[in-house]
């Protein structure tokens, strides 16, 4: 194996181009390590985003060799042979180099009713949520989302319909639908219904395939389809 990695890195905004850098190969080297090496040693003008470096914050996701991945936990040695290609996430505006504008992604969390609506005031005692209850288990299945936008980038439906709320926002809505302390389901189910919401999902499961936390947003979206159908049938939330 060569001592260096040929790293093709996206430079500029939407009209940018790839620039190739030669980076020393190291043991247990992640894609984020490669990008950081370039920024620290070869070209300090390179822009990219990261924070925790340990797979918790969801900041460092990029398109690596054509697939969306979290770069801090993606080891170069485990990737396909050939040059390493790194671009910003798909389906989001490109700001500069490897930094994508995350605003549309998080705006859709708000549009999907992703805000917790308390059903009691601050004076109320702690809510008791039975860990084995069906609602709690359904919420647990989706709650570990780190907001990295890998699923949003992997979703073809987002590229076809820019209004589509996307897997992460719908997954967030599903966790709140199952939160017994929440009182916002009437508006939330309105928000997630229709061709920009859960009913547009083709269940192709690209989100599930690429989610670095091994979550299954497709299952959450299927849950929303059932919940909205129940609400529509009854005429209420």
């Amino acid at each position: 194996m060569a001592d260096t990695i040929d790293a093709r890195i996206w430079r500029g905004g939407a009209d940018g181009r790839f620039e190739t850098f030669s980076v020393p190969r190291r043991a247990s080297q992640t894609v984020l390590d490669v990008v950081t090496y370039i920024q620290r040693k070869l070209d300090p003008t390179l822009s990219y985003r990261f924070a925790c470096r340990v797979g918790m914050c969801g900041s460092c996701a990029m398109t690596v060799n054509g697939k969306p991945r979290w770069t801090c936990r993606t080891h170069v040695a485990r990737l396909e042979d050939g040059p390493l290609t790194v671009e910003p996430l798909r389906n989001l505006p490109r700001i500069k180099d490897l930094a994508a504008d995350m605003a549309p992604f998080f705006d859709k969390w708000a549009k999907a009713g992703g805000r917790f609506v308390p059903s009691t005031d601050a004076e109320a005692d702690f809510a008791i949520v039975e860990p084995a209850s069906a609602e709690r288990r359904a919420a647990d299945a989706g709650i570990e989302c780190i907001g990295c936008a890998v699923c949003y980038s992997a979703c073809d439906l987002v590229s076809w319909n820019p209004d589509y709320l996307g897997p992460a926002a719908l997954n967030r809505a599903w966790t709140l639908v199952n939160d017994v302390r929440d009182a916002g389901n009437a508006d939330r189910l309105d928000a997630v219904a229709g061709d920009a919401g859960c009913h547009a999902c083709h269940s192709q499961q690209s989100c599930r395939e690429h989610c670095p936390k091994s979550l299954n947003p497709t299952a959450s979206i299927a849950g929303l389809k059932r919940a909205t159908l129940r609400a529509a049938w009854k005429g209420g939330p």
Partner: protein
């Protein structure tokens, strides 16, 4: 639920329900064809068996209805996704397509029955 969200959701539900009906109808239709034509079958023989058969009229009437629900809802989604069409013209156009399917489908069923 708000009217629009409710309508979209019920259309989605109708498409899923009609898909379930279609799955049964298509299998029954294929099985019937395979059974009926084993020794060859003329148009006259087919008509002699279908005329006056309420069971046939009910089965194929239901088949047509399921198609008329399923196909326009799916077509509406495809047109929205592929061409970005939205709004009342799309709704009216696909509703007209549903009417077209029901009219010609039931007409064909009536032709076999009467």
């Amino acid at each position: 639920m708000k009217l629009r969200a409710r309508a979209e959701t019920l259309l989605w539900g109708a498409q899923r329900a009609s898909a379930a009906v279609l799955a049964v109808c298509v299998l029954a239709h294929l099985a019937t064809i395979l059974y009926a034509v084993r020794g060859g079958l003329t148009a006259a023989e087919i008509l002699s068996r279908t005329r006056g058969s309420f069971a046939l009229a009910f089965f194929y009437g239901l088949f047509v209805l399921a198609v008329a629900v399923h196909a326009p809802v799916g077509l509406r989604a495809i047109l929205r996704e592929t061409f970005g069409w939205r709004g009342v013209p799309l709704d009216l156009g696909t509703a007209a397509f549903a009417g077209f399917l029901v009219w010609f489908g039931w007409r064909a069923v009536a032709g076999l029955f009467a």
